[in-house]
């Protein structure tokens, strides 16, 4: 062997050994880098030399530096991560909902409703006392505000979800850009048999991050780049990306779309799916249930209230609900009345008194439902549009905003009550509440202005609190869920459903976490860097190399002596 050949083998050996050490160092330096895969030097026999005496080995050389990685585990991790992201988001939103309900507590709806019915009960005992009336007004106001606040918070939560969606869309776009950029670098570096290990690790980590946000398919291409597609649309294709954007739907909420064609993005899992699910399904379910409760309270209390007598008669009254078409039956949705469906066949009574409280007239207004039934125009006509026609000393008209107004002539006042038809509740005349759902429920304006208009009496007699008793007893009436549940039952079941929903999302989240920890451990077993192992190897090498160095030194000296003793000429 020539001196040059020996030197060449030595240099190859040195390079390979150096590389091996550098890879060890790289492993140690990245032991705590998320997603880093242990690397190893793979060596092969270098090509042998053909000599006149036959084939001669030339040592070993580096084949490649390989990533110790199990692709299947990566895929499993991504699949499970997207479900974790989804349940994490749902659980997060349900937790906030649970906080908003604030049960059990003094400020929770359960207690406020209970207090509300109790104030009606109090009023029934002392119907003529201003304090009882004021207490009821105050408690009703608190209850209505609690409904409003809960409703607003839940609606705001949906807008918070929009913000989250916006930020996830940005994150997805940013990750797509980074993956495309890594595709470019990997394609550049991986010429021949080279493998860009660290870049691939980075790309795998980004794919894992992406899987937290959205479900996708990925496929490695022959040039080393990865194709990422969502619902058939290529988010990343080689070095190109498809940008995700958003538009607003009819409700003013964000819908993720593809920027190029405005088509909605098909989202099946991940945080984005979780947020969308929370915003469009979970939260609306609870909003709807709270609305149902508020509507039941408004319509049932109003129906009963409009039967009763206040302490004072009205000089004028404006309906709490507007009518969009006065020519349509008030029992029809075409009338535009919110509570058109509470109207039945029946009647209500209008009593006109003079200033001294003497009854001047008592008139019954019949209400007929169905086709050809009573319209707002019919009611106006019955009462009369001036003080002389229809019911004397009263006039009725619909103002430009669509509200029905009834006014008494100067020197006269009127009661409007004893409603068996529900028409007054539908119109909002002599009613306790206004509004149509949890977001709008409020005490009706005339009662806010004068608590004497609270209709606690069934007869109009002094000391009669029977109508207040009837209203207080609504708390035990089965008004909800096809008349199978009381308001309490329904509210309790709402909380129950929320609790179960949250527990389910918590359990699923925990389940996913356990699964992911297991997969991560498996990945760590395959790809992780064991510092102890690396340290042990290094110290073993050190020990062996020191022995080799000493031995070779001895051999060298021995050879010196031998060469001297054999003697050169």
């Amino acid at each position: 062997m020539s001196g040059f050949a020996g030197l060449s083998i030595a240099m190859r050996a040195l390079r390979a050994a150096q590389m091996s050490m550098e890879v060890s160092g790289h492993n140690i330096a990245n032991a705590n880098t998320p997603g880093y895969s242990r690397q190893r030097v793979e060596l092969v026999e270098s090509l042998p030399d053909l000599t006149p005496w036959g084939v001669k080995g030339t040592g070993v050389e580096i084949s490649r530096i390989a990533r110790v990685r199990e692709e299947y585990l990566d895929l499993q991790l991504r699949n499970e991560t997207k479900l974790l992201g989804q349940w994490e988001e749902i659980e997060k939103f349900l937790s906030r909902l649970e906080l908003y309900f604030n049960e059990p507590s003094d400020e929770g709806l359960n207690n406020l409703m209970s207090e509300f019915w109790a104030r009606w009960q109090d009023l029934s005992l002392t119907p003529e006392e201003q304090t009882s009336r004021s207490n009821l007004l105050q408690q009703s106001d608190v209850l209505a505000n609690a409904f409003n606040t809960l409703y607003d918070k839940m609606q705001d939560l949906r807008y918070d979800a929009d913000e989250a969606i916006k930020s996830y869309i940005q994150e997805i776009n940013s990750l797509a850009q980074n993956i495309a950029s890594l595709n470019k670098q990997i394609r550049f570096y991986e010429v021949g048999d080279a493998v860009a290990n660290d870049l691939r690790d980075q790309r795998d980590e980004m794919l894992r991050e992406l899987s937290e946000l959205i479900d996708f398919n990925s496929e490695e291409q022959p040039d080393g780049t990865i194709l990422v597609s969502i619902g058939g649309v290529n988010l990343v294709n080689k070095v190109f990306t498809e940008e995700m954007s958003y538009r607003f739907n009819e409700e003013g909420h964000i819908v993720p779309i593809w920027k190029t064609n405005n088509a909605p993005v098909e989202i099946k899992a991940g945080k984005l799916k979780g947020v969308l699910d929370a915003r469009d399904n979970k939260i609306p379910t609870y909003i709807s249930r709270i609305n149902e409760i508020a509507r039941a309270i408004i319509s049932e209390v109003n129906k009963q209230h409009s039967k009763g007598w206040g302490l004072e008669a009205f000089s004028s009254l404006r309906s709490a609900y507007s009518i969009s078409d006065t020519g349509e039956e008030i029992s029809s949705s075409d009338s535009g009345l919110t509570f058109y469906n509470v109207v039945n066949d029946g009647d209500f009574v209008i009593t006109v008194n003079d200033d001294s409280g003497n009854t001047v007239s008592t008139d019954t207004v019949n209400i007929v439902t169905g086709a050809g039934g009573t319209t707002t125009d019919d009611i106006v006509s019955t009462i009369g549009s001036d003080f002389t026609s229809g019911i004397s000393h009263l006039r009725a008209y619909v103002d430009s905003d669509g509200y029905l107004n009834i006014e008494a002539e100067a020197g006269y006042r009127f009661f409007i009550n004893q409603d068996t038809s529900g028409a007054l509740a539908a119109l909002g005349l002599n009613t306790f509440f206004k509004g149509e759902d949890a977001g709008t429920i409020a005490v009706n304006d005339p009662i806010v202005e004068n608590v004497k208009f609270i209709a606690a009496s069934s007869s109009g007699e002094i000391g009669d609190g029977n109508n207040a008793v009837e209203i207080a007893q609504l708390k035990d009436a089965t008004l909800m869920d096809n008349e199978s549940a009381t308001i309490y039952d329904y509210y309790a079941s709402t909380l129950g459903v929320l609790g179960v929903d949250k527990k389910e999302s918590e359990n699923l989240k925990k389940g996913q976490e356990v699964l992911i920890t297991h997969i991560k451990n498996s990945i760590e077993d395959v790809s992780g860097v064991s510092l102890d192992e690396e340290a042990m190897n290094l110290l073993k090498f050190q020990h062996s190399y020191q022995a080799a160095a000493r031995f070779l030194g001895v051999i060298d000296e021995m050879l010196d002596t031998l060469i001297n003793e054999v003697g050169r000429r």
């Binding site: 040195l14 102890d532 290094l538 110290l539 022995a547 060298d556 050169r568």
Partner: protein, 155 residues
């Protein structure tokens, strides 16, 4: 006696060839970071070294007897004393031996360089890696647990 010297020389050449062969394996063990193999080879080479040293002692003693002279007797000098019929054989053996020794020495020197350099890397890495906690590892690379002794100075 000259025949005995010839067979000692032939045996020495054989052992040096073996040593040369194992240097290739040593190089591979260093590159592959196979400390087990490396130590096996070193042990084998050490045995070879001892055998070579024994033969060399035997050769020197034979040479001294043959030419009745003390001190270092070089093989090149010995040829002049050999019977004429054997001189050519001794020249050939001497040339073969010197060539082999020079080859081995060259390879041993590059190998020493390789080992020294790699050792430098290893030591540097160990110092970075252990970050002043070298005492936490023993020479086999196993972690040593602290016994938790507390030393205090007393008056």
């Amino acid at each position: 006696m000259w025949n005995e010297l010839q067979s000692v020389l032939q045996e020495e050449i054989k052992l040096h060839r073996k040593l040369k062969e194992t240097l290739g394996s040593l190089r591979e063990a260093i590159v592959l970071r196979d400390s087990v193999k490396l130590e096996e080879i070193l042990e084998f080479q050490s045995e070879l070294g001892k055998e070579i040293q024994n033969l060399e002692n035997k050769r020197v003693a034979l040479c001294r007897k043959l030419i009745q002279q003390e001190g270092v007797i070089r093989l090149s000098e010995l040829v002049e004393y050999a019977p004429k019929s054997m001189r050519k054989v001794f020249v050939r053996l001497r040339n073969e031996m010197i060539s082999l020794l020079e080859q081995i020495q060259r390879e041993v020197r590059v190998m020493r360089y390789v080992v020294r350099t790699v050792l430098g890397y290893v030591e540097e890495m160990i110092s970075i890696f252990t970050a002043g906690e070298l005492m936490a590892y023993d020479s086999t690379g196993s972690k040593v647990r602290s016994k938790g002794y507390i030393y205090s100075a007393s008056a």
